[in-house]
Amino acid sequence: MLFTSEHDQFRQSVRQLVEGEINQKADEWEDAGIFPAHELFPKLAAIGALGLEYDPEYGGGGADHSFTVVLAEELGRADVGGVPMAIAVQTGMATPALARYGSDELKREYLAPTLTGELVCSIGVSEPGAGSDVAGIRTKARRDGDDWIINGRKMWITNGTQADWICMLVRTDGDSGYQGMSMIIVPTDSAGFSIGRKIKKMGNNSSDTAELVLDDVRVPVRNTIGEPGQGFQMQMSQFQDERLWISYMAVSGARRAIDRTKEYLQVREAFGKPLLANQYLQYKLAELVAEIDILQGFLHHTAARYVAGENVTRAATVAKLKSGRLSREVADACVQFHGGMGYAEEMWVARYFRDCRLGSIGGGADEVMLRIITMMEDMGKPQ
């Protein structure tokens, strides 16, 4: 992929914003278990980071996907995983379907104010009873005249306690399977909508994750994105953006973690020399750097294909699998080579270790990626 000087300048802007507006407050937000999305998102909007690829008619940037790569890579380098994840949800995970398939009216009402950061949104797919098996969701919308009446629960919803609207996948027809799902915009101030609980987590603590309860929530049918019954397909296409986002962030995050570890090992001495002079540590890091290089090259190649209009579902799946696994390996090495400091909350390492563990679970677990690749390889449907 060819980055131009415009990409470099945009990278600089994002990097400064991450440093000034996110890293400075990361500790405070981690302790609070939430960050103020309504305060931070307008700042991201001001540099054009929300909706880079969307139609300028609705406040998007009209950019091609290569600028998303720059944005995600820079967010992935932040001192904290939760805030970048929340930003990714807002611009790359909860809005692609609305931007692609939503009506003009819906885009004016929901997309435009989301891209200015005035509204905060979530993606609501997972449920207490179904995560990996998306076809198993049970939240149901029953039609009543011009309204849907929605009942059910959504689980693990990022931005869930502060979102203004949820891009929600619900069952509108039939009881099971891929058919009969629709994607509906659910405003969180609707009667019958409530936050069941805010979930305490092992990492990504600055991001609020919630269980949501829908009890006879009435939403106009015109809040349906695209055609009713097409929800599953739309979510599968939206997953592709999500998985690329996760991969870009994971790989740049791993790269930064290695750089910071190298710096530490240069300064820290044992047995009369800097730890970094130790060949075992050098080779371990070199091996990880080689893996990062390969994956980053693959991602840039994939992004270039995406820009050229090719289908990159398979590549997004492979990248998601491999980047999740690689960041776990990198994080483990970083903790190990920092010794006690790697286990202490005083340094960045422990947080990185916890945060990046999500990479192999969120957005589809590693095994779900393997399942997709297996089916693409015509090995039959795994049982």
């Binding site: 415009e6 300048q9 945009f10 802007s13 400064q16 914003l17 001001a46 054009g48 980071a49 880079l52």
Partner: protein, 259 residues
């Protein structure tokens, strides 16, 4: 309103700065170039005035070809056009020469306000704004932490050691700003893309009508005869208080000629 902003490209603030062994000038290749930090505040203030009063903002810089990056940054923040004076003969110019060149470019361009940073992070002379004002024969309002424009006059709060003074002048005027004045914006994606299409006028010294004899190292009023690297930090003296700490401290300060 017509606003000019003079911006300078300087070596990255955090980079180690070196002088060249051949002519004792700053080695500008040794570090990344960035916009002088205070000049970002100057650009931001111009943009705010433009948002409030309309008008046009022109960026003016004197510097090597690479300073074009700094021009781009100012344009991507939102300025409308730029003039870039670039010429090998400018190398080694001192503050007098710099102010001569900037004032010559500004003359005949009809500006209401010319903004500057109050100091550059590399040479730190803090004199160019005053010199330019003097050469243009307009008022100089320096060290501004607040700027207001009303009709044909401009009012600033000028930072002093003790607080601030309110200074008023008729326009056109020169204003230099301090970092308290605002929070510079980060260039946005749209700003970066739009900057590609904005006009940048590149001038040589001849184009600008400058006299070669007043420019460059040969014309500089100061000569760097010699320089040496900063000596490594020596270990400090620790005064242990055994009841006579005050006396020992005073003795130490006396040997250092502080008291």
């Amino acid at each position: 309103m017509k606003i000019a902003v003079c911006v300078k490209q300087v070596p990255d603030t955090w980079a180690e700065k070196k002088l060249r062994s051949d002519d004792s000038t700053l080695d500008r290749e040794a570090a990344d170039g960035v916009m002088n930090e205070l000049d970002e505040y100057a650009v931001e203030e111009a943009l705010k005035l433009q948002e409030a009063h309309g008008g046009e903002i022109t960026i003016i810089t004197m510097g090597p070809e690479r300073a074009g990056e700094t021009v781009r940054k100012a344009l991507s923040m939102g300025a409308d056009a730029a003039v870039h004076l670039v010429d090998d003969s400018l190398h080694g110019s001192d503050a007098l020469a710099t102010s001569y060149a900037l004032a010559t470019i500004l003359t005949g361009r009809d500006f209401d306000l010319v903004f500057f940073g109050s100091e550059s992070t590399d040479a730190r002379m803090s004199v160019v704004p005053a010199m330019v004002a003097e050469r243009l024969g307009v008022a100089q309002l320096t060290f501004a932490q607040k700027v207001d424009v009303d009709g044909t006059s401009v009012t600033i709060q000028r930072v002093t050691d003790y607080g601030f003074e309110t200074v008023v002048a008729n326009m056109p005027a020169v204003v230099s700003v301090v970092e308290k004045i605002n929070e510079p914006r980060y260039p946005s994606f749209k700003g970066i893309m739009a900057a590609k299409k904005k006009p940048v006028e590149t001038l040589s010294t001849v184009d600008a009508g400058l006299e070669g004899s007043q420019l460059g190292l040969a014309a500089a009023w100061t000569v760097v005869e010699d320089f040496a690297a900063r000596p490594p930090k020596a270990a400090g003296t620790i005064v242990t208080d055994e009841g006579d700490g005050g006396v020992k401290l005073a003795e130490f300060l006396a040997t250092q000629k502080f008291i």
